[in-house]
């Protein structure tokens, strides 16, 4: 469900009538400050489905969801965006899939240019990955995410 973001408001002041914003039409959704770049990144790299799923995981999955699910970790989400900024995915394949893990991580899965699966789960401390092409499994810290992203694209 797409909803509109409210502009940042403060109880300390109100704007004069001429400057007050009219309600946006349903086709417009304004990102919060600093969020626009991330939303654009999601749409560009993961498509509308990926963008919508991340939105859903952020806003609708509270602590204790499912059997014992943990709410999406803000650190994991930040790690995910850092990776995504550098990531390239094969153009002729289905857009990557994004999932929420039970421990509050966010997981990205896709196939490389040879159709072999790649999976990365982002957590509060970095990422765990598996690459079927080389049967390689490992983990990186936050500062290794950009390099991992380039490595998995190669």
């Amino acid at each position: 469900m797409t909803t509109l973001s409210l502009p940042t408001k403060s109880p300390a002041y109100t704007l004069e009538e001429g400057l007050r914003e009219p309600a946006d039409p349903p086709t417009i959704r304004r990102g919060a400050s600093g969020e626009w770049a991330r939303e654009e990144l999601l749409l560009r790299k993961l498509g509308p489905k990926g963008w919508g799923r991340v939105y859903q995981f952020r806003n609708y999955y509270e602590s204790g969801w499912g059997e014992k699910g943990r709410v999406l970790s803000p650190r994991a989400l930040d790690a995910f965006f850092r990776f995504l900024e550098e990531a390239t995915f094969p153009a002729d394949r289905t857009s990557p899939s994004v999932f929420l893990t039970d421990r509050g991580g966010i997981e990205l899965c896709w196939e490389d240019c040879n159709g072999k699966s790649v999976q990365v789960e982002f957590t509060g401390t970095g990422a765990e990955f598996y690459r079927a092409a080389t049967d390689e499994e490992g983990a990186v810290a936050i500062d290794g995410l950009a390099q991992l992203s380039r490595r998995l694209a190669a």
Binding site: M1, T3, L4, S5, L6, T8, S10, A12, Y13, T14, L15, E16, G18, L19, A32, S33, G34, Y55, R58, N59, Y60, S63, G64, R70, V71, L72, S73, P74, R75, L77, D78, A79, R82, G124, I142
Partner: protein
Amino acid sequence: MSDGFPIQIPDRLPVHIEPCPIVQAIFETRFVSPQPWATMPGLLFAHIRQKYPEQKTLPMAQLPEELRRQDPALLILPLIQFLSDTFLIQLGPRVVSLMTKPNTYPGWSAIQQELRWLLQQIKAAGFVGETERLSSRYIDFFAGDIFTALRLGLQINDQPLRGTQADVTTFFRRDALSIRLQVTNGAIVATKEGPTPGSVLDVDAWFGPLDVDLFGNGLARFAEAHHAIKGLFFGLIKPELLHKLNPTYE
């Protein structure tokens, strides 16, 4: 978009200005919690009630939780307020903030002391899981049109746009700090003399989840954000306005 920070910060910043334009200062943390919302007010109040004996339910609390959950902007709003003589504490399912009372800015030293105390109480209450965002926000009010006194303005056909109502919002990054700057000359503020039209400078500076841990470096990050806002303010205002504020330097 440029990577460089476009505002020149002066080397020396005043320690005091008079009259003080600060309407309100807000020090906020957003977090995720393993606790359900219903338990959180009680958990916090148990630790702050001697200093903040009065509590008030905010209007947003009247909205059913199902409706609040449908809009992410509503999820981060506070639902309850605790009051002391000098400060307000606001609490919501994903947010806690310390606010100065309108038009009574007590000074950074007093705020830092209160923040230090409050963080200890929040930690003891045990409902904050992971920190999502930590910010300092300052709202300043000026009579008249602030755009004439700032190094920021709008242009049409390369000519300054003057004498019209304007509301400008822009976003900067400075290393780990994100800054939202909003300037308007069409605001109405509740002052001691009643509702007063004029201009507002609203600056919100925040750190994201990978750069802050409320109980680790939270106090230092509040101070960093405060200092960045102070530098931005004095970097934005023209000398004529600075002179009118009778700055005192150390």
